[in-house]
């Protein structure tokens, strides 16, 4: 063999960085293809939903639609003001209840609870379970204890708000715990080493550092609550009310209820109005999620 042939043979035998094997490239492409396919399917599903109601609903949307009350008889005059206002009030009550209770529970579990005690372990296990309980069960809970039973409020706004708050409370606790846990122990150590009490450390270091995470989580929890129909039905939300709720003890309705009622109606016009209401609900959801994303991007704490 010539010198060049010997050198070439040596190179072939002792490549320092081996070339990619044939199968590897193909499987890499295949996997990427599968992933894109999955994403595509998901988008397809979403597009189908949007197409479905947007088509019908867009024509219905107007300022009148949002600012007039529903009618049981004349579809053209049916608006969703009471439903929108009811939904907004429900969200406010829900938030007002869920934020303090949820955050304080999370603070207790993360900062104070001794993990070896049995009652704390019971709480730990059950938080996850509660988050997965079907929402209609919360409706039954609300009906039995709040609308009737010990509290006997009747089917009023406050009852609906409390029921929704109970529904999303586990989620808020979980999210808040994650946000609090994200604050590194070194921050707590530094604060305590400076002579701060545990409460001072939580109030001045831990909570401020987890606010972004908690806020984001609360908004996402609320955007789940906003679409819950079953619990509100069981609790006794009204349908096609021609007035806005005038107090915590007033009857109420909400967008999902109104949508549900209209889609049941034999009159196709009402079904079309339902599509419009769905559009409004979607827009509200989109706004809430956008706010959540903006909050996270703006205030997220990178440790």
């Amino acid at each position: 063999m010539t010198g060049a042939q010997i050198a070439a043979a040596a190179r072939r035998q002792t490549t320092v960085i081996p070339r990619r094997r044939r199968g590897e490239a193909a499987s890499a492409w295949g996997f990427a293809g599968l992933m894109y396919g999955a994403v595509g399917l998901a988008f397809l599903g979403l597009a189908a939903i949007i197409w479905d109601f947007a088509g019908d609903g867009a024509s219905v949307l107007s300022w009148d639609f949002v600012t007039s009350f529903p009618s049981r008889v004349i579809p053209e005059n049916a608006g969703i003001e009471s439903a929108v206002v009811g939904t907004i009030y429900l969200m406010l009550i829900c938030a007002a209840l869920v934020v303090p209770i949820g955050v304080m529970t999370a603070v207790y579990l993360e900062e104070y609870a001794d993990g070896t005690r049995w009652y704390n372990r019971v709480i730990e296990v059950n938080i996850q379970n509660l988050a997965g309980v079907p929402s209609v069960v919360y409706g039954i809970l609300g009906l039995a204890f709040i609308v009737r039973g010990p509290l006997s409020m009747g089917p009023v706004l406050l009852a609906g708000g409390i029921t929704l708050a109970l529904l999303v409370l586990p989620v808020v606790v979980i999210v808040a715990r994650e946000a609090i846990r994200a604050v590194p122990p070194s921050i707590r150590e530094a604060s305590l080493a400076l002579g701060a009490t545990q409460w001072q450390t939580i109030w001045k270091q831990v909570l401020p550092g987890s606010v972004a995470g908690i806020a984001t989580g609360v908004i996402l929890a609320l955007s789940r609550a906003i679409g819950e129909t079953a619990p509100l039905l069981v609790v006794g939300a009204g349908v096609s009310l021609r007035f806005n709720p005038d107090g915590l003890d007033s009857s109420f309705t909400a967008l999902p209820i109104q949508i549900f009622a209209w889609t049941q109606d034999p009159n196709q016009e009402f079904v079309a109005r339902a599509a419009g209401a769905i559009c409004v609900l979607m827009i509200i959801l989109l706004l809430m999620n956008s706010v959540a994303i903006w909050l996270r991007n703006r205030y997220e704490q990178k440790w």
Binding site: E189, L192, L194, W303
Partner: protein, 297 residues
Amino acid sequence: MPENVRDEQIAEPAAQDERRFVSTQAAEHAHEVPAAAIAEPIFDVRDVAVFYGDHRAVTDITVRLAKRQITALIGPSGCGKSTFIRCLNRMNDLIPIARVEGQVIYHEQDLYESRIDPVQVRKRIGMVFQKPNPFPKSIYDNIAFGPRVMGMKGDMDEIVESALRRGALWDDVKDRLKANAFGLSGGQQQRLCIARALATEPDVLLMDEPCSALDPISTGRIEDLMLELKKNYSIVIVTHNMQQAARVSDMTAFFTVELDAGETHRTGRVVEYAPTDKIFTNPDDKRTEDYVTGKVG
């Protein structure tokens, strides 16, 4: 020359064999520096032991730590140096299964007496940690946190400036006190943590491997800072870096870790406690000699 003259001049007893290290019994008490040597200790530690549950992590610690000097704690991994230093400001209280026995006398009070509030203890004894841990706030708010929490009276601007000057950071940051502390370099962040600890006007500074995460130049600056600070503060430093202990400290305590009979539990104790010069030129205990010369890690 007559025999007796020769004997007088050679005061050191001729060793029976090469080994001239003190016997193990003597070594047990070798670390108890005669009381006269440290007349006014800042910490008088007596028979301290720390337990994590049933496991005895450190035991039989009896040392007198000197005032306005730098004391280094050295020893192999897991020998309990960090556990011990955290006893001095009751930081071990934060670990639920930790239990401390013995006494730590500070300003004529036993820190572990039942009526002593650990929060008050930590206001007078500052601590700096291995990885710089500034708060995600402005430089100003970092320094001001301690004084505010304490309710310190006085002009906060002055308090912050004074602390930053003592921490050798004022010149670096005086024009950007409102900037976020995370924007500082590693060495600057550590000096910020030192200044933050000094802001509450402690008289002791505990430092747990303060330079481990820093580059050599930053390390050098912090060592210079320590030598400056010891004029006014008593400093106790845990370090893995023996050269650092040799460079900056006045007294050095060497910890070792012992396995119990069943070879399952590791317990730390102080083997030798002496002026740094002695530890590094002529230690009494063979275990100290083996560790500082690097024969045993």
